[in-house]
């Protein structure tokens, strides 16, 4: 139970940091924010690697491999499309 309490501490503090940071992101960037944070939620990959990391073909391992694949689509696709979008945002060259 003690470790649960510690985890809850970490979670609650991280939520507060999240609120502080995200409220400062201008609406201009809300779509890249969404796709980028979406890619971050692919952090589940860490858990997926953990459960898939056994050399057998039993059910948990299979689920783990599917999980690795799905999470990786989320991670790679999410970061890449965010970078693509952010690369399109340009300032006026004239500099008026």
């Amino acid at each position: 139970m003690e470790s649960l309490i510690l985890s809850i501490y970490v979670f609650v503090l991280a939520v507060f940091i999240g609120f502080e940071l995200i409220t400062k992101v201008p609406p201009l960037l809300h779509t890249p924010l969404m796709s980028g944070s979406n890619a971050i939620s692919g952090i589940t990959i860490v858990g997926a690697l953990y459960v898939a990391n056994i050399s057998n073909w039993e059910l948990p391992t299979l689920l783990g491999i599917f999980s690795v694949t799905f999470a990786m689509i989320n991670v790679v696709g999410g970061f890449l499309v965010t970078d693509r979008m952010l690369g399109m945002f340009k300032k006026d060259k004239g500099g008026k």
């Binding site: 470790s3 985890s7 970490v10 979670f11 991280a14 939520v15 999240g18 940071l21 995200i22 409220t23 992101v25 609406p27 201009l28 960037l29 809300h30 779509t31 890249p32 969404m34 796709s35 980028g36 944070s37 979406n38 890619a39 971050i40 939620s41 692919g42 952090i43 589940t44 990959i45 858990g47 690697l49 953990y50 459960v51 898939a52 990391n53 056994i54 050399s55 059910l59 948990p60 391992t61 689920l63 783990g64 491999i65 999980s67 690795v68 694949t69 799905f70 990786m72 689509i73 991670v75 790679v76 696709g77 970061f79 890449l80 499309v81 970078d83 979008m85 690369g87 399109m88 945002f89």
Partner: protein, 463 residues
């Protein structure tokens, strides 16, 4: 060894936080995204190394397959389809969390260990949130992609059904938590959650999808966090919590901009398939409007010194962003001051219109948020509204019985001249007629946005 691994995970979490911080400004946003990429790569490498090996081949296969699919999807997607893509990625994140939790559960079952209370609770949460995110996102994707019709699909006794499903989820979870060896209950909860994800999203109209995507974004973060609780891994908890917070903030912003409560969006079953005003003008009013053509509009453009453009989703549907940018380039070369006013709900997801315009090479320092620009309309010669309606409807300020009443709008009616480029006189998504159409200073130019603006550009070049 264990300590180093923990420290490395901590470093990864810090990088995620710094990455999000840098997303706060357009100048540093790309660097911020790179920080997050490094953080993720680090987390993946640590996970592989901490297992003592580079991993069995099946892991490598999964990593490569996922990377390849993600790569192709991200490279191919059209910017107008961004909401669908984000919905789909959300869903994949959700199902990944579910699978991890379920695999962990079977592992414990096979090992004959009975999980502690906190573990069994978080496993159930992970399965529930992950699965609802998955099926809910698939429905949102299908609606946005046009596979399912966008209009709300309401089953008989829909709310009662949802309530029943929720009760089923709670009952199944409780049965498992107090009798962990029975691995069948988590499966039951998983299946009910899958159905609930569907019934949760199908009654929500296409125009409300920005809210749904933002909410599902939040859920996918919470699912990752729950998985972090199961595995006792802080980087999952922190990264998931950051995403959870982000999604909630965006959900809230969208609701405020639409003048609706979250509950109304989720359970109100409001609206038709989309909001670009294809319905007929209500009330049978026979008031006169002043109709103009693209050439007429070009003549007006010759006389102005300043213009504020209000783009709506109709602009993107007509694919008129590029020709619009060409028009503004001509105007600017003649000394006309050009600005864009972006309403928070312009587009199909938060911030969508900015991306669509950036793709058409519009510099981002010409894009202004509503609060920044609303005071400037009164000193502007022309407000040009392309494919938008409700977000500039003055009825939102005065007409107390209107569904729009109280919604924040762009003050285009304060400009000296107002020009609408629009397909018809139809009311917007909210079904409220726009009195501005009939105002003396308003010019209505009917037609497809791309064709009208092409004519306009032609007129400008000749004139």
């Amino acid at each position: 060894m264990e300590t180093y691994i923990e420290l490395a995970y901590l470093f990864s979490a810090v990088l995620f936080i710094l990455g999000l911080k840098k997303l706060g400004s357009a100048k540093t946003a790309r660097t911020g995204n790179n920080y997050s990429i490094v953080a993720m790569a680090l987390a993946i490498v640590i996970s592989l190394v901490s297992a003592g090996i580079i991993g069995p081949t099946q892991i490598i296969v999964g990593l490569l397959a996922g990377s390849l699919i993600g790569f192709v999807m991200a490279k191919r997607v059209e910017m107008t389809s961004m909401p669908q893509l984000v919905a789909l990625f959300n869903g994949f994140g959700g199902i990944a969390s579910t699978l991890v939790a379920y695999a962990e559960l079977i592992k414990m079952q096979n090992a004959g260990t009975s999980p502690a209370l906190d573990i069994s609770i978080t496993i159930m949460l992970s399965i529930l949130i992950g699965t609802v995110t998955f099926t809910g996102s698939l429905i949102a994707f299908a609606k946005l992609q046009g596979i399912l019709k966008g209009a709300p699909i309401v089953l008989p006794a829909h709310q009662a059904l949802n309530l029943l499903l929720m009760l089923g989820i709670v009952a199944g979870s409780v049965l498992y938590i107090f009798n962990p060896p029975l691995v069948v209950w988590p499966l039951v909860v998983l299946l009910i959650s899958a159905v609930f994800g569907i019934t949760f999203v199908i009654p929500i109209g296409g125009a409300d999808m920005p809210v749904v995507i933002a909410l599902l974004n939040s859920y996918s973060g919470l699912a990752a966090s729950a998985t972090g609780f199961v595995l006792g891994n802080n980087v999952l908890i922190i990264a998931g919590a950051l995403v959870g917070a982000s999604g909630i903030i965006l959900t809230n912003l969208m609701c405020v901009a639409m003048n609706r409560s979250v509950l109304n969006v989720l359970f109100g079953a409001v609206g038709t398939s989309d909001g670009d005003g294809s319905s007929d003008a209500p009330g049978g009013e026979q008031r006169n409007v002043t109709r103009y053509t693209g050439e007429d509009a070009a003549m007006i453009m010759d006389t102005i010194n300043s213009v504020i453009i209000v783009p709506g989703y109709g602009l993107a549907v007509a694919q008129a962003q590029h020709i619009l940018h060409e028009m503004t380039t001509i105007l600017e070369s003649r000394g006309v001051q050009v600005k864009y006013a972006i309403h928070p709900v312009a587009g199909r997801m938060p911030g969508h219109m900015n991306v669509l315009l950036a793709e058409a090479n519009v510099p981002y320092d010409k894009l202004y948020e509503m609060d920044e620009i609303n005071d400037e309309f009164q000193n502007t010669d022309l407000a040009l509204i392309v494919g938008a309606n409700d977000v500039v409807n003055p009825a939102a300020r005065t007409k107390k019985d209107s569904p729009l009443y109280g919604m924040p709008i762009l003050n285009v009616d304060y400009a000296r001249t107002v020009m609408f480029v629009k397909r018809s006189l139809g009311a917007g998504f909210a079904g409220e007629a726009n009195p501005l159409f009939f105002d003396e200073k308003t010019m209505m130019v009917f037609g497809d946005a791309k064709k009208v603006i092409t004519d306009l550009v032609k007129g400008l070049k000749e004139g």
